[in-house]
Symmetry: C2
Subunit: 530 residues, 2 copies
């Protein structure tokens, strides 16, 4: 992973000429005054942890699994939000951990937490490092030092229960490797968020990730049927059945806990069979309002596609739903509807209800009835081809002097128009003539997510510029009754808004759990808990 | 509701002659020595609350809403488990509350909780009074008295958001009245547990109820998208979107909290359209193993019926799945598969994927492929007709000297055979030649519930007799890795087993939340929290 950007540098993306023109002429984007910092010039504080403390840590995990090199520390600094990248491009390594620690087992994780509690060392659980909400920038004040607890060595597919369609995995397993391992068993998680290429399964759970095929496969929290968690106060093992009436569902208290309550050391996950067929199609609607109504009917009456997204007029015009054809978009609002599953078998009534063809025909009839015009599979293929490329594109935009960032929320269907307007107005008010695009990419019977992409010319300190806009957006989401995050999480960036969303009694619950599980407060301090 | 039994005394059920013979000849059931206590002979302690305390309570809710009559107190004593009924039939009113309090608003509930905290009065939130796990028998020790907080006056359908398919309701609304109110809008919850005729929506949420049509409509906790809760420490308002990545899902911490954390004063619930068609069919499988495999394939590959249940060989033979024909059952294992939804419309591809006919044909093909023999709609109609009658039948069995009770659990598919054997063996070991029947009535992709009905001749003190058996079953479920309850809840009866299931750190989490929300411990003391 590129230290100052996204992914494999070899996959860097050139900006399409139309987009360059648009940036220059419409948004007033100009080359940044200063070039990006080199790796060698990143400012890094000396390691704050004493040799004795480092030795104690090494005693738990082995000397070769405690890293204090520049590369290790810079590679574990913050996450991949735009402000994170802007800070790195400015050579600011101030949030770097003092050391990176790689435990090799649940017991080593548990021992580390006990040691760090005794020594007041802050611990930042680290999976793929893809947080976009400041979830890895722990507070340092009051601690002897900060270690990144990298789960990379806990990367096994532990067992496969094909009868229950449940697999046990370790948290550091990366999503692409998980899919490769599962495919040998004919299985898939079907979880493909934009962070897919780098993110880990433990991170998906800790941050309540939601993938591009969530309509068909569910959110990641839907897939988690069991969790093993190491906390400074002992171990938790949760999930004896798919569902239970034995009290509160504590799995749902650990999911989304972002490393603040404990470290997930094993997950039991519901899996599906690898689909025999995948078909992604495009549809056009006259307006975002009409398209939203169509998605709502599909979510409420079915049949639900596996992938379902709707771009608003601006995103469709810019062509952001098709990163390969960016700048060459079209009028109206583009819907991508994808179907994955079993192929229809000749004359089988079962297959008509569940097959790709049967569901595609059914959903297509709904989309047509609601005013959609079919565009065939070409837009679907374009979407599929570019589905993980937006973060690469961001690096190119940052390099030419544009700030690009995403914000997202969710609400009930009847609240979406208000929420959509509120976020747009906040961005338009806080930034100078930005380009604001939006899509719906996760639908439920009762509501949906809204995902905004904003592009603006960098002005002054681009981090401060964005922080002002972000503050306005957060306030707008809270006021409009949406949730502060549908799938990015809370981290540091949403903590205040999260407190407003929960209310004081909700905040008290989190603090009570936190102080019971992590009495010294070493776990990801400053993250999540208001 | 009959004070010493179930439901409307006018609906009392005569035992079919075959069943009387079976009880007498096979199980050795004999008339009980003593007749059941009369209402007048129930032993009730004097009201422990001082007149000053009662006056303070009355100041909050109005004098006419504080009841201390025998009828009110006996009518709010314990729930409807078999030991509860046996105790009432023995004239034991020892768990009666001192008073029944009926608040008329959220603010009155909140004020009551503050008052009871200050005065150390235990509060038992009371909905339909249908708990079967001792969820209403609060501990009295250390308190000035106990009040039942009956939510009957909070019984409105507050609002309908037809676009989001979300309704806001008050917790004391009973299920049949809710369905009547919703039907005017063409809507339904689709939640039909066996307690349907008496239970309240708040109780469904507080105890994580699951209905007979859960395969199609989901569990009740799936339907809850928002909750307002009054706690002694202040109010909670949760749920701004169907799903969120804003931290842990605190809704899932309040669901299943059984009145120990707070009192639910409003719920936002996902609703569905009233189905145009309902079809329930019977199928026969050669064995429970074969039938289980068929249910598993339907749960994992679809299409999933709305109602799906499988009786084991004994339950099928006794005919318990068809209470109207009890004692006249059949060989093999009976499956009831029901389909509710839109009727197929001529030539519409959408309807083939989602219609009753399309799903019925699809699921039927799977059942046939897995070895099922179709029995047509007659067994389905018989099941539908008797679906709420089992609790009435229990009263008749208790009267003739038989103990009948149910126990239930859930687990992953691969664990079900072990769990099935463990529970059966525990019951067979703890009771003298009991009749043990089982069915699966709730299925998930990764597992299912097991629901056992046991009938045995009363011997000695029937409460003690059952408590020994229950202890053996609880231990067996914990040892076999199942959850201690799929849909009955924890209450008092499962509290110890629940502690074993959660482990000490899980228990600590509950205690931390409890002491933060309810520092004086007035809410349902002795219930849920180990």
């Amino acid at each position: 992973m590129l230290w100052s950007g996204w992914g494999d540098p070899a996959k860097a993306r050139e900006l399409p000429p139309q987009l360059r023109e648009l940036l220059h002429d419409l948004l007033g984007v100009r080359e940044p005054a200063a070039p990006a910092a080199s790796f060698a010039s990143v400012r890094l504080a000396p390691v704050a942890l004493s040799p004795a403390r480092l030795a104690a840590v090494a005693e738990v995990v082995g000397h070769e699994h405690v890293l204090t090199s520049r590369a290790a520390r810079i590679g574990h600094t913050r996450g991949k939000s735009t402000p994170d990248l802007l800070r790195m491009r400015a050579g600011d390594g101030s949030d770097a951990p003092d050391a990176v620690v790689l435990p090799g087992s649940h017991d080593e994780v548990a021992a580390l937490l006990r040691l760090c509690t005794a020594e007041r060392i802050a611990v930042v659980p680290f999976g793929g490092g893809t947080s976009v909400v400041g979830g890895l920038a722990a507070a340092r004040s009051g601690f002897a030092g900060v270690v990144a607890l990298d789960l990379a060595r806990l990367d096994r597919l532990v067992s496969v229960d094909a009868e229950s369609m449940v697999v046990t995995v370790e948290p550091g397993l990366r999503a692409p490797e998980a899919e490769r391992l599962l495919e040998r068993h004919g299985l898939t998680l079907g979880h493909f968020p934009q962070s897919f290429e780098y993110a880990t399964l433990g991170g998906f759970a800790a941050a309540r990730s939601s993938g591009q095929a969530s309509a068909g496969y569910g959110r990641f929290d839907d897939m988690v049927v069991g969790l093993t968690v190491a906390t400074p106060s002992g171990d938790l093992s949760l999930g004896r059945a798919p569902k239970s009436a034995a009290g509160p569902d504590l799995r749902q208290l650990l999911l989304g806990s972002e490393g603040a309550f404990g470290v997930i050391t094993a997950l039991r996950l519901r899996v599906r069979r690898v689909p025999q067929r995948r078909v992604y199609e495009g549809w056009r609607f006259g307006s975002f309002r009409e398209g939203t109504a169509a998605l709502r009917v599909l979510a409420q009456e079915g049949p639900l596609p596996t992938v379902l997204r709707l771009s608003d007029e601006t995103e469709t015009m810019i062509g952001l739903a098709r990163p390969d054809a960016i700048g060459g978009g079209d009028s109206g609002c583009l819907v991508i509807a994808g179907y994955e599953g079993a192929a229809a078998s000749e004359g089988s009534p079962a297959s008509s209800a569940t097959s790709v063809e049967g569901r595609g025909a059914g959903a297509g009839a709904v989309l047509a009835r609601m005013g959609g015009v079919p565009l065939g599979i070409e837009p679907g293929q374009a979407w599929e081809h570019g589905r993980f490329s937006a973060p690469y594109l961001r690096d190119s935009l940052l390099a030419v002097g544009a700030t690009v960032e995403t914000v997202e929320t969710a609400g009930f269907w009847s609240a979406l128009p208000r929420l959509y307007d509120a976020v747009r107005l906040a961005l338009l008010g806080a930034l100078e003539s930005p380009l604001v695009m939006c899509h719906i990419s996760h639908v439920y019977e009762t509501g949906a997510s809204l995902y905004f992409t904003v592009v603006t010319a960098q002005k002054g300190d681009p981090v401060e510029q964005w922080e002002r806009a972000k503050e306005a957006v957060n306030a707008a989401i809270v006021a409009a009754g949406g949730t502060i995050s549908h799938h990015h999480g809370v981290g540091r960036d949403h903590r205040e808004a999260y407190a407003a969303e929960l209310g004081p009694v909700g905040v008290d619950i989190l603090r009570a759990v936190k102080s019971r599980l992590d009495p010294a407060g070493i776990l990801n301090p400053g993250i999540l808990i208001p």
